[in-house]
């Protein structure tokens, strides 16, 4: 039985060694600085579950943190399973509201209305996002692209960094004679959907592929999730990929390209994207704020590749055990200046202007019981 004794001994020794080593490590502690004045006027208590889009996961995190600090008796859990699964769980009555990259419409809206029994389900745009064209070329600090050239690259027509089409837009830049290592999402995603919709709207001659949540253009390499696309670009020299802006905030090698939609190069910043989102038109009725984005927007301070993520909630009729009071209170906080003010630092785009006024009206229409 020597074998078993040795194994047990090795395990114990290894564990204690690791634990000892662990004790030596340092920690910054988990304290988050509490906001100076209470951002939530009427705290609700209890807990809710909510699920959906992974694109807004980090925005949800910061809202939940600040809300829970202000209201210690509340617990909100957001599970970033994907918009489709999030809407399904909401319709199935598993969650109190859903986070989704595309507004719930058609058959799904009928089902969602049925789920809300006496009330209706409404889409509330709560988090905007910019899709950055992340690139990694040593020494290339600034890159400008037009929708046509961008579509050419992602349609596999432009394959070299020193292609004349790219060089023409970046005179003076030192473009390498290297193949563009292209990365796209290998999972289904709202980001892919919005990006290909942008290309289809702005460069229809070059981009001839059907839109949708799945990438279907030839060539390039797939990576799972925005995190892996960003990490792939960060690691691969002479690469390019599309990710939400927040995923390149901490990057060292990857930068976001400037997009020239006719009014000069526009940088992918939170402010520029917010300006573009404000110009979207409402296609939902009443308090349902489903939006149609204007990808062709041509303005010197509007970054055109944007997306909007929604919270889909019951205006009334949410069962009491799913805590409508907390849903209302939490979304009110999210739509407040304090809530929206948290977004830019995380690489998201706050809702602003008239749209924000409408959002607050929609949130105010949510029943609290």
């Amino acid at each position: 039985m020597r074998f078993t004794r040795n194994a047990a001994f090795a395990a114990t020794a290894l564990t204690s060694a690791l634990l000892l080593a662990a004790c030596g490590g340092s920690s910054d502690g988990g304290d988050t600085t509490a906001p100076t004045d209470a951002p939530v006027s009427d705290c609700a208590t209890g807990s809710i579950k909510t699920a959906g889009s992974s694109a807004q996961a980090n925005a949800m995190s910061v809202w939940i943190t600040d809300y829970q600090i202000a209201c210690p008796d509340a617990t909100i859990d957001y599970q970033p399973v994907g918009s489709g699964a999030g809407v399904e769980q909401f319709i199935a009555g598993q969650t109190s509201f859903a986070g989704t990259d595309s507004a719930v419409t058609d058959e799904d809206l009928v089902a969602a209305n049925a789920r809300c029994e006496v009330g209706a389900a409404i889409n509330i745009p709560m988090v905007g996002g910019a899709i950055a064209i992340a690139y990694n070329v040593e020494g290339l600090d600034s890159l400008t692209l037009t929708p046509t050239v961008l579509a050419g690259i992602f349609a596999n027509n432009i394959t070299k960094w020193n292609d004349p089409a790219i060089a023409a837009l970046n005179s003076g830049a030192n473009l390498p004679d290297a193949t563009i290592a292209r990365f796209h999402r290998s999972d289904s995603s709202g980001t892919t959907d919005n990006f290909s919709a942008f290309l289809a709207a702005t460069a229809p001659d070059v981009w001839t592929f059907d839109g949708g949540k799945d990438w279907i253009a030839p060539g390039g390499q797939g990576a799972k999730g925005s995190d892996q696309v960003a990490a792939s670009v960060e690691q691969t020299p002479n690469s390019m990929g599309y990710v939400e802006l927040s995923f390149i905030l901490e990057a060292e090698n990857a930068k976001g390209a400037l997009i020239d939609n006719g009014a000069g190069p526009v940088a992918p910043t939170s402010q520029n994207a917010s300006n573009a989102i404000t110009l979207a038109t409402q296609v939902g009725t009443g308090d349902d704020l489903a939006l149609q984005l204007d990808y062709a927007v041509s303005s010197a301070d509007a970054y055109p590749i944007v997306l909007v993520t929604y919270e889909t909630a019951c205006q009334a009729g949410l069962p009491a055990d799913q805590n409508p009071a907390l849903v209302s209170s939490f979304l009110t906080f999210a739509a407040s200046d304090a809530g929206q003010g948290l977004l830019s630092a995380e690489g998201y785009v706050p809702i602003s202007g008239d749209l924000l006024t409408k959002v607050r009206a929609s949130v105010a229409s949510l029943a609290t019981s």
Binding site: A8, A11, L18, S27, A57, N58, V62, I64, E346
Partner: protein, 352 residues
């Protein structure tokens, strides 16, 4: 036989036949390294093969040839087999140790008492700090319940297959256990999600996750236990039965204790397999950032979903936490494993 005739042919009267001198393998190894260095520095390319591979091939071929000439075919094959067995071991150990070391180093960078006792409640993705206590509790509860369900059923089913099972029923059970090992984990989660959660029997909870994990554990436990029970020598069973011991006592007191170490390895493998399962838990449990001891209701985190969540956040602090979570998961299994080994030693039949 072959040896005798060979000896007669060469007129040798040695008891052990001719052997390579003890220094021969070492000399050959040195020569191989020399060839490797030659490839490395001389610019001679052997089809672009790496010097290490060239050296290994030279050693393998050289030793087999030399041994074949001096010692005969049987010993040449033996030496070849020995070298290959050692090679496979080193070959396999390299990536495996590499993973363990990577996880340990990356994990230790965030490991701290706070990391083990804290939770992710009110920690933003970009903030450093936070912890996995909530996830650890969740995994403990979920895997524990799964094991409580799967181990008795699995071991009993294996006992049925080996000790009692005859005919069509046993054949079908055994066959479908094999098929069950191939169920993708996400399908198990899907099954629980639609069968128990959408029908309103359960909400998304630790218990639902445990059911999904139990489905995944079951075939591994049955197959491993079955395999171990089968190789318990029949002489033991027959001896006990001949002494008039009832069958159930033979199984519980003779067969199982003899096979216990293998059974525990099987159970550990199944626990290890499901402890790291992410996909089914994403469907059946609900990701939580706070501690929840209640498996029946409310959101409950687990180590794999914690890791999955942190990685997909994409921020540096979150990815670091994910590696810390992986290290914690390995340590968790390590401790379980050591415990199981001690238990198995306690139950094993006393030898000498």
């Amino acid at each position: 036989m072959a040896i005798a005739s060979a000896e007669r042919a060469t007129g040798s009267v040695h008891l052990t036949g001719r052997r390579l001198p003890r220094w021969a393998p070492w000399a050959l190894a040195a020569a191989s390294v020399g060839v490797g260095l030659l490839v490395q520095f001389s610019g001679i390319t052997a089809m672009g093969l790496a010097p290490g591979i060239v050296a290994a091939l030279v050693f393998l071929i050289g030793q087999t040839t030399a041994s074949g000439i001096v010692e005969g075919r049987r010993h040449a094959v033996d030496r070849l087999a020995t070298t290959l067995v050692y090679t496979t071991f080193v070959l396999a150990l390299a990536p495996l140790l590499w993973i363990l070391i990577t996880v340990t180093i990356k994990g230790l960078s965030v490991m701290s008492p706070e990391f083990l006792t804290g939770t992710m409640r009110n920690i933003n993705p970009r903030d450093a700090g936070g912890g996995l206590f909530h996830a650890f509790i969740g995994t403990l509860i979920q895997v524990g319940i799964a094991a409580l369900i799967a181990v008795p059923i699995g071991v009993l089913a294996a006992i049925y297959l080996v000790e009692f099972g005859r005919g069509k029923l046993a054949y079908f059970i055994s066959f479908f256990v094999d098929v069950m090992t191939g169920i993708p984990s996400i399908v198990a989660g899907l099954f629980i999600f639609t069968a128990l959660i959408l029908t309103g029997v359960l909400e998304q909870s630790g218990l639902a996750g445990a059911f999904a994990l139990a489905i995944l554990m079951l075939p591994v436990i049955i197959r491993a236990t079955e395999e171990m029970l089968r190789i318990v020598p029949n002489e033991l069973r027959e001896g006990a039965l001949a002494l008039g011991v009832p069958k159930w006592k033979v199984v519980l007191r003779i067969v199982i204790p003899t096979a216990i170490s293998g059974i525990i390895t099987g159970v550990m493998l199944s626990v290890a397999r499901v402890a790291g399962e992410t996909a089914p838990l994403l469907l059946t449990t609900f990701l939580a950032q706070s501690t929840n001891f209640n498996p029946i209701s409310g959101s409950q985190a687990s180590l794999p979903t914690f890791i999955w969540d942190q990685i997909s956040r994409g921020t540096n602090a979150a990815v670091d936490r994910a590696w810390g979570g992986a290290l914690a998961l390995i340590l968790f299994v390590l401790v379980l494993y050591a415990g199981a080994r001690l238990i198995s030693r306690y139950f094993a039949p006393k030898t000498s």
